[in-house]
Structure formats: C-alpha cells, structure tokens
C-alpha cells in the first residue's frame, strides 16, 4: 500500500517483534536495531522515513542517541518511554523528537501517531483557512467562524488556537506554548495556559469536559487533534 520504511530501535525482542508485526500488517516496511550503536548505523544506511526510538537502550542514553540522530536526520522520530518519566519526554521533545508513546501503548495509538508525524512532515500548513467539524479559522481575516457566524475570540485565545491548529497532531510542551504566545519570560507560568485552554475548550468543544480537539498530554503539554479523515 505504501513503501514507507520505519526503523525500530529497541533492545526488547518482544517489543521489536510486536512492532514489526503491527507495522508490517499496516503496510510499513520495518528495519530493526537492538542497540544505540546498531540503530545509528542503521539510520545512516537505511532509507527509513521514520524512527521509533526506545529511550532505555542498554549501550547509550536514548536522549544522546536522539541528539546524535538530529545532527543529520531530519525525518520524524517517535520516542518510546516508560511511564512516570514526563521530564524525559519533555527533554526528548526539546531534543527534536516529534512525538512519544508510553509503554505499554495501544496499537491504535501507535498507528495514529505514525500517520500524524508522517503527514506533518509532508504537508505544508500554508493555507488561508482551515475548516473543522465545529469551527473554521480564517487566517487572513484572523477570525473564527462557528455555525456560519464569526465568534469573538480575544487576541490570546486566537493566537493559542492558531498555534494548536498549525501544529495539528503534534504534542506541544507547556514551555513551548508559553514561549510562543506569552514570550520567554512566561515559560514557567503555566497557570495562564491552563486557564486559556479551559476557555478555548468552552468555546470550541461540544463538551468541554470531554475535549476532542485540544487533548491534554499529562505532564507534558497539549495536542491538537482534528478528526482523522481516512
């Protein structure tokens, strides 16, 4: 169905096997590596379009592997991590990872992340307007239209929503969003972000308590998700 090739760097044979079966049955080609050394070598010689990297490798710290990869590898990298390591995830995202998954992960989640990062790396976001099921953003007039009528958004709300929309499917860390919207001085002031996200949800979500657009990535940040059109 496609000839996308994915490089899996993980030292656990069962995880490698599981990923191989899952990915191959979904039409992806799979290259496997079980150490950081092998992984870096494989990334250099293979034509992989995406790398799934486990942070807990036996021979080298995953963050370091990621940094080394990012010196020349420009395609998406998805991190695999164990739970309770939100700080690691944030640093991995800072180090250039496109997304992350927490072990144990669900297959549907994995496939959605893969599709999302592959799409983001190929589609440019340079469009005058984007339409979603419940609202529409017009970038040229800086307006948001719901039920065919413009809705009042404050500047910050508009900028925040635009930032989310332009990074659709991508997890944005609290620090990144704060820096982009409020500036470098506000990176630690994540309380503002909570309030504004709650406000945005009240405006765009059908049920703000069960958000479908702005998803919280616990301890890490937020992810804007538009309903996938298969």
């Amino acid at each position: 169905m496609n000839n996308t090739e994915i490089l899996v760097i993980d030292d656990e044979i069962q995880i490698r096997k599981l990923l191989e079966i899952t990915l191959q049955s979904n039409g992806y080609g799979v290259v496997k590596a079980n150490t950081a050394k092998e992984g870096l070598a494989a990334a250099a010689v293979s034509t992989s379009d995406l790398i799934i990297l486990d942070l807990g490798l036996p021979d080298e710290n995953g963050q370091l592997v990621l940094k080394k990869l990012r010196e020349w590898y420009v395609k998406p990298v998805i991190i695999l991590s164990v739970k309770n390591n939100e700080d690691d995830i944030v640093s991995a995202l800072d180090n250039g990872a496109n997304d992350y998954l927490i072990k144990p992960f669900r297959t549907a989640e994995l496939l959605a992340r893969i599709r999302s990062v592959l799409r983001n790396s190929t589609v440019s976001q340079d469009v005058p307007a984007i339409k979603y099921e419940d609202f529409e953003i017009n970038f040229s007039t800086r307006s948001i239209i719901m039920n065919n009528a413009p809705v009042k958004f404050t500047t910050t709300q508009y900028e925040l929503l635009t930032l989310f929309v332009k990074n659709e499917g991508k997890v944005l860390t609290h620090q990144y969003i704060l820096g982009e919207i409020w500036g470098a001085d506000y990176i630690a002031q994540s309380q503002y972000l909570r309030v504004f996200v709650a406000q945005l949800r009240k405006k765009i979500e059908k049920n703000p308590n069960k958000p479908t657009y702005i998803i919280t990535e616990s301890g890490v940040g937020y992810r804007f998700v538009a309903k996938e059109i298969e």
Partner: protein, 360 residues
C-alpha cells in the same frame, strides 16, 4: 520492645560507669558486713558481674568481673589492701573465680542468643504475616489475569481450527481485559514501593481541577457506565499547584473504589472547592458504606473489607492516603447519610488568584 534491646540503647560510657558503680557498692557492703557474709562474698561479686552481663554487654561485664576480682583480692584476701598474687591460695582463688565466670559467661551468651532469636522470630512473625497477606492477594490478583492470558493464548495457538470466529474474538477480549488489569496492579505495586522508599519527589505544577476530575472519570468510563456521576466544582476556574500525577491517582483510586463497591445505579458525587488555601475534594457515594468497625483500617495496606466481593490488592486507599500526605494534606473517611462512604481530601496548595484569570 524487649528489655535487653532497650537497655542496649544505653550509652556505652554509662554502661561502664554503671558496672563499676555496682561492683564498688557491692564490695563496700560486703566489706562492712564482712563478718556476717564472708563465704558469700565471691559469689555476690560474681553474680553482680553476670547480672551486668545479662542486661548490658560483654565488655561492661568483663570490666566488672576484673574489677570484682581485684577488689576480692584487695579487700577480702589477707593481707587486706594489698594486691598480692604470690600466695598460691589467692592465685588459685582468683583463677577459679575467673574460670567460673567464663563458664557462666558462655552459658549466658547461649541464653542471650536463644532469646535474641526468639525476639527476631517474633518480629519476623509479623513480617511473615504481612508477606503472607501480600503474597495471597498478589498471587490471586496477578495470577488470575496471567492465567487468563496463558489459557486464552494457548487456545488461540493450539485449537485455532476448532474455535469459532466469535469465540476467538471473545478470547482476545479476555486477553485485553486481563492485561489491562495486570497493568493496573503493577501500577499499584509500583506506587506502593515508591511511597515506601521514602524518595517520592513531588512534581508540582499548575493543574486545572475540573479537567483532572473529568479526565479520571473518562479513564473510568467502563467501570462507571452503570453509575450516576455528579461533578460539582465550586470555583471556576480552579487551578492549583499540585503534583497532578499523584492526585489523579488518588481520585482514580477513590472513584474506582466507589464504582466497584457500590451497586449499579448508585450515585457518586465529586466536589472540588478551595477554602483556607486548601484544595478540598470530596468523593461520596450512596452505597452501603464501610462497616463501622473497619473505618479505622481502611487506609491500611492490603486492607480488604470483609463484605467485599470485588477483587483487588487492597492498596488503593493506602496509596491515596500516602499521595495526599506527601502533599502535607489529609484524607478522611466519613459515613454519609443515610448510607455510603464519603472521603474528604484537604491539600494545602497555591491557587491562581482570580485577577489573573480575567481574560486579558
């Protein structure tokens, strides 16, 4: 605590002073009443040495015994006040004195060892009981899902041809449920050991309580599908600085508990408020509530209610309490009226002031 353990905690220096004092006092008494108790003198000194040994340690006893030997020779062997071992009798007396003491020390060492062992066994007894409970619930809670997974996969691998598609699907469903259950129990065990290690570090960050509560309810959607859940946030927005991961676990455990231990269509009410610089969360249900005599034990590790039919390790509430307490907060169980359980959590936390919440 056993007496010899507590006595051993007396400072070493004090022990020596104590033994020297006893010997001096006994010697003085003996010397004064020399005429009446002459033959008993060496024994009294000897036993004082042993007595010291029983309650203190071997070194203070040795000091006491040597001192006793010297005093015996000085005070009671003629010529008085002279340390004279040249005479055969005094040398023999002192030697015999030491030999008897050594034999006694040997016997008492044995007794002490046995006593110590008994003490350790008694202590171990409780530990063993604790681990018995742990192993019982662990083997049940972990082995059940593992058995399901092994059984179901065996079926799928070996009996593949004989199983209908719908049964295949059912088996896969069972594997999925079992692994999620395993995952949850492992999470509980990990959390318990995190708490027990004492190295649990709070990662405080701003947290929207409304979002947190609804996130937990969303995670528990399956367990709550036959329950009525009411959420009431008294202040909007309620954004406080807490370790959201830990408080999420607290809410998860309490709401999950309420869902598991109440009948279908029971009502679970969750409220959140901020008063006196504290985040106040309540989780209340209208189920049967806890038996009155168990109310004091519910937060104990591996507590399982006598009336409980649902499974579980009995760690949920102890983890909830632990996570609230690392926030310097408190958790309390009350009986709700007319029936049911009501957990009240109070956590001191910074809150966003209302001024900053106004939109620009």
């Amino acid at each position: 605590m056993n007496s010899f353990i507590s006595l051993n905690t007396i400072q070493k220096k004090d022990q020596y002073i104590f033994s020297v004092l006893i010997i001096i006092i006994l010697s003085t008494i003996n010397f004064i009443f020399l005429n009446y108790i002459a033959y008993a003198i060496p024994f009294i000194l000897l036993f004082s040495g042993l007595y010291i040994y029983i309650f203190l340690d071997i070194y203070s006893a040795v000091v006491a015994i040597i001192l006793a030997g010297i005093t015996w020779d000085l005070l009671f062997v003629k010529p008085h006040f002279l340390f004279d071992l040249h005479k055969i009798e005094s040398l023999v007396t002192v030697l015999v004195f030491f030999i008897i003491t050594l034999i006694n020390v040997y016997i008492i060492t044995k007794i002490k060892k046995i006593k110590k062992q008994q003490f350790v066994e008694k202590g171990l007894g409780q530990t063993v009981k604790f681990y018995d409970t742990l192993l019982n619930s662990l083997s049940h809670e972990l082995r059940t899902p593992i058995s399901v997974i092994i059984g179901a996969t065996d079926n799928l691998l070996q009996q593949e041809a004989k199983i209908s598609d719908s049964d295949k699907n059912n088996l896969l469903q069972e594997i999925s449920i079992a692994s999620l259950r395993l995952n949850r129990q492992v999470e509980n065990l990990l959390n318990t050991s995190r708490l027990q290690s004492g190295f649990l570090q709070l990662k405080k960050d701003w947290c929207d309580i409304n979002e947190l509560i609804h996130h937990v309810i969303f995670q528990l959607a399956d367990q709550l599908k036959d329950h009525v859940v009411n959420v009431s946030i008294k202040k909007d927005p309620l954004v406080v600085r807490i370790d959201h991961g830990l408080i999420e676990q607290v809410l998860f455990n309490l709401i999950n508990n309420a869902a598991q231990h109440t009948a279908v269509y029971s009502v679970i009410s969750i409220t959140a408020d901020y008063t006196d610089e504290k985040l106040v969360l309540t989780i209340e249900d209208n189920g049967k509530g806890f038996p009155a005599k168990e109310i004091n034990q519910v937060f104990n590790k591996f507590y399982r209610s006598q009336n409980s039919v649902a499974g579980g390790l009995g760690l949920g509430l102890s983890i909830a309490k632990g996570f609230v307490e690392v926030h310097d907060g408190s958790i309390e169980l009350q009986r709700s009226i007319p029936t049911g359980a009501k957990f009240i959590i109070k956590i001191p936390a910074e809150s966003i002031s209302l001024k900053t919440t106004e939109d620009e």
